[in-house]
């Protein structure tokens, strides 16, 4: 799916994700309920028959819907809710007997963090691979906490052109995973001495995180593995599943838990990246011994800068920092602040260029990716967003990887599932390009930690509302 016509035959291959429509396999509740009082409609038809006469059948049958809600065999008597887009023309024209309301069943999709609006967005992206485009301006809350209190900058003049960013001009979304020294050293004869970069590249700053227990199955592991392969990125999959379902590839990062040391030798080849689930000295050594050429990522919950630097001193150069599915750490801090704290710790220690920070938890919307990178991540591992792309239903509040309950559609197939994830990645990458295009950045690596190009509500409000009676910063 990443093949593309931009390969010019001279070895140049331009990364491009080919999205293909992958319609929902499970019927979800319609967005709106349309209710028509039948006696009202019958009266209207009689009235119009009398007024226009039977010769003007087309006038009488002309209904106030462009989307087919009243186009069934019995017209408005049995409205087709699933076609309703909520324009409200019908209820505007016929306030007495047509009611359009939000469907409460639709609003139950997701949970309090991954709310139904985000579900709508992600499912559209996974179905089409397109950027959601709508008219009539912004409809949401002004700002708020977390991601909603952050804006990205734009440049009035110098930038790649928008007609170009998805076509002839180039914005790179390649990121390096691994360890690179701050500088290279050479001996007198020009040979490199000391540490050299130990990195590999993925073409977009998105990975697929390990699935929660309730969604883990051979099929879902295969879906994430295939999507990662098609995108040229990585899927994090428990080593047990990797071995059991024969999923070894350059695009699978086995997740090894303490106590799973013995599984390592069973792997047939060295993975590019192995994730170690929590720090265990013995396991770290065992991985190094078994696969000296593999990179080791330490997967741990977001923690203090001091703690992170401690692991860096032990040799860890790739960190996969996790928050819960609502983007919180156990103390309630939000992932945006947690990322900034981690990034800052490495910057202040002077080794930010040497490490790679991957993050997951609470990053559920396309806009969160550039924001997370601006705050300091190198790449984002998708978790609940990937599940929603696969039309997973949430059962209750889903915060925790171990106990959250998701159910997937019965008709889930490998081809459909992989395509949905590819489409989601295509859409999110294109939206990342939009943000970077607006900022005038040509490379996602330059977006990382570029805090001067971020704006925060607290700061903007403090500046703008200085002098307004009753305004207290930070209240």
């Amino acid at each position: 799916m990443t093949d593309n016509p931009n390969n010019n035959g001279n070895g140049y291959h331009r990364f491009h994700i080919v999205a293909e429509r992958a319609p929902d396999v499970e019927k979800w509740p319609s967005r709106f309920n349309v209710r028509v009082r039948r006696s009202g409609l019958a009266k209207l038809i009689i009235k119009e028959l009398l007024h226009y006469g039977p010769r003007n059948k087309d006038v009488i049958l002309s209904r106030p819907c462009l989307y087919g809600v009243f186009s069934g065999p019995v017209g408005g008597f049995m409205p087709r809710d699933q076609h309703c887009v909520g324009c409200l023309r019908c209820t505007t024209e016929f306030p007495d007997f047509v009611r359009v309301s939000h469907n409460p069943e639709r609003r139950k999709l997701g949970d309090s963090f991954f709310d139904f609006r985000v579900v709508d967005s992600v499912t559209y992206e996974a179905e089409s691979g397109l950027i959601p485009v709508k008219g009539a301006g912004y409809r949401g809350k002004f700002g708020g906490e977390g991601w909603d209190g952050m804006w990205t900058d734009m440049s009035e003049i110098v930038r790649p052109t928008r007609d170009g960013i998805h076509g002839r001009e180039f914005i790179s979304t390649v990121v390096d995973i691994g360890a690179r020294p701050n500088f290279l050293m050479f001996d007198e004869e020009g040979r490199s001495v000391g540490r050299t970069p130990h990195v590999f590249q993925i073409p977009l700053p998105l990975l697929f995180d390990v699935l929660p227990k309730s969604a883990a199955s051979e099929r879902t592991w295969r879906i994430t593995a295939r999507a990662a392969t098609e995108l040229g990125t990585l899927a994090v999959i428990p080593i047990g599943a990797v071995l059991q379902y024969n999923l070894e590839s350059d695009h699978v990062a086995p997740l090894v838990r303490p106590g799973e040391k013995d599984a390592l030798p069973v792997l047939e080849k060295a993975p590019r990246l192995i994730e170690m689930d929590g720090w265990e000295e013995g396991l770290y050594r065992a991985i190094h011994t078994a696969f000296p050429e593999s990179l080791v990522a330490l997967r741990i919950p977001f923690t203090s800068g001091q703690e992170l630097l401690k692991f860096a001193r032990k040799g860890i150069r790739v960190f996969h920092l996790t928050a819960d599915y609502h983007g919180r750490d156990p103390k309630g801090a939000f992932v945006l602040d947690l990322i900034r704290r981690a990034h800052k710790a490495f910057v202040e220690a002077g080794i930010r260029q040497e490490v790679t920070l991957l993050g997951s938890g609470g990053i559920i919307h396309a806009e969160h990716v550039p924001k997370a990178i601006l705050c300091g991540l190198d790449a984002v591992a998708l978790d609940t967003a990937a599940l929603v792309a696969l039309q997973a239903r949430f059962h209750g509040e889903c915060r925790d990887r171990e106990t959250s309950r998701f159910s997937l559609p019965r008709k889930l197939t490998l081809a459909w599932g992989a395509q949905r994830l590819v489409n989601l990645a295509a859409s999110w990458r294109d939206q990342l390009l939009e943000i970077m295009g607006a900022m005038g950045l040509r490379e996602v690596r330059r977006l990382r930690g570029e805090m001067g190009r971020a704006m925060f509500m607290e700061d903007l409000e403090r500046e703008a509302f200085a002098g307004v009676n009753g305004y207290e910063p930070g209240r």
Partner: protein, 434 residues
């Protein structure tokens, strides 16, 4: 004309137009509760219905509907006015001056002044119907203010109102011709727009009909992106050359520069002034009427409430505040928003969405879908666009402007001010109610 003389097309238009007009009235005046699915955080059901009410009556509703603020939880919605005690209000018959001079540079060009601090923002032919453009132009002419072509060319029918139509020159140059620049008393350069800051204009293929593409000199049914940025502008000096080009084509015209709200919006405003702009038009990130990527609406560039004070203060510190007119747009929904943005530092406001709402928009966001707006606003569909007839549209807008003018005067009176100019840059007259 009897029923028998009318075509099916005419009868269908007549039927739905009559139903819609009755519906706007009934929902805003008679029904006990709003349509359950109407509204959002920014444009609540009450704001939409109260705008319909104002468009019908020329004054705000007396009870029931909240016509001043939305429920977005920030920006204008957490600001209120710090009114004087009632005993200190100016008498109701006090003469209050709402006029706004647009040329403050002190040059030899026309000293255009508009009688209220509002004009209509750019909405291009193609993104809206010709009937909507005509409605706006007629209302602008009636009030002696302006409306803008947007970047879609200049339908011939607008020529009659050319003294009140701003010609927009944007990066795609769609429909920009020498005569349309020469028509205008004000020419507006659009560098960016709040709906999609930094991304350029976007007309979806479905709306690029034969007529639209003829005016835009493009290929029918092909999506049109305005390239971003102006490829010839990489500095204030380059921008100056653009201004000179306009002045060469039309030496009489005032120049407005429409930009969005990046972190350095203050520098952009100062640069625009030094490049020769009479009007700096800041378009904040929450507005816009046309199709835009959802990601761009919320996340790129700052809301206008934050940009205006920054620009106002910087222009003051550069000692050029009184030599340039600052117009604000992007999410300004009500007369109260207009007054608030002026108190934060703007001279006036540019409105777009509220004009569409006055003509029946429910803000359903389906402007880009299929045949376009089902209410006949953001569409060029031959049938749908007939729902908005220019006389009716102009009357709705006239009523809306009348209501806004009344409310602005009332706000000033309660603040003890005799002119809108006195309100500019007075955050001390606001209070935070968040």
């Amino acid at each position: 004309m009897s029923l028998a003389d009318k075509s099916v097309f005419e009868l269908i238009v007549e039927k739905h137009t009559a139903n819609l007009h009755a519906g706007f009235r009934r929902w805003s005046e008679e029904m006990g509760a709003p349509p359950p699915a109407l509204g959002d955080y920014r444009w609540t059901d009450d704001l939409i219905l109260s705008t319909w009410y104002q468009a019908a009556h020329g004054h705000p509703p007396q009870d029931r509907l909240e016509y001043r603020v939305g429920r977005s939880g920030g920006g204008f919605d957490v600001l209120d006015f710090n009114f004087l005690p009632e005993s200190q209000w100016l008498p109701e018959n006090t003469e209050i001056d709402l006029s706004l001079p647009l040329n403050r540079r002190g040059d030899h060009l026309e000293k255009i002044s508009i009688p209220l601090p509002i004009y209509g923002g750019g909405m291009s032919y193609g993104s809206v119907s010709e009937q909507v453009m005509l409605s706006r132009a007629r209302n602008a002419a009636h009030w002696g203010t302006f409306t803008s072509t947007g970047e879609g060319g200049y339908p011939r029918s607008l020529t009659e109102y050319k003294d009140n139509v701003i010609t927009q020159v944007a990066t795609g140059m769609f429909g920009v011709r020498e005569e349309t620049i020469q028509n205008a008393r004000i020419v507006e350069f659009k560098y960016a727009q709040g709906a999609k800051p930094g991304l350029g204009g976007h007309l979806l293929g479905d709306k690029a009909t034969q007529t639209v593409s003829e005016i835009r000199e493009s290929v029918p049914w092909v999506s049109l992106f305005s390239p971003f940025p102006f490829h010839s502008v990489y500095s204030v000096e380059d921008h100056r050359k653009h201004v000179d080009w306009i002045k060469q084509t039309n030496p009489r015209a005032l120049v407005s520069v429409k930009v969005s709200t990046p972190t350095d919006v203050d520098m952009v405003a100062v640069g625009s002034y030094f490049a020769g702009a009479h009007i700096v038009h800041l378009d904040g990130s929450y507005g816009g009427t046309g199709a835009a990527p959802e990601i761009a609406k919320k996340n790129i560039a700052m809301p206008i409430e934050f940009a205006i004070p920054r620009v106002h203060r910087y222009l003051l510190s550069e000692e050029i505040r009184d030599r340039v007119t600052v117009m604000a747009s992007g999410g300004i929904r009500t007369a109260w928003d207009i007054a608030k943005v002026i108190a934060l530092g703007a001279d006036g406001a540019v409105i777009g969405t509220s004009e569409l709402v006055a003509m029946g928009c429910t803000r359903c966001s389906n402007c880009e879908r299929g045949r376009g707006c089902p209410f006949g606003l953001t569409t060029t569909d031959p049938l749908l666009s007939q729902f908005v007839q220019p006389d009716w549209g102009a009357e709705r807008l006239n009523n809306l402007y009348t209501s806004y003018a009344t409310q602005l005067k009332d706000i000033l009176r309660r603040l003890g001010l005799r002119s809108i100019a006195e309100l500019r840059g007075r955050p001390d007259l606001l209070k935070y109610v968040g």
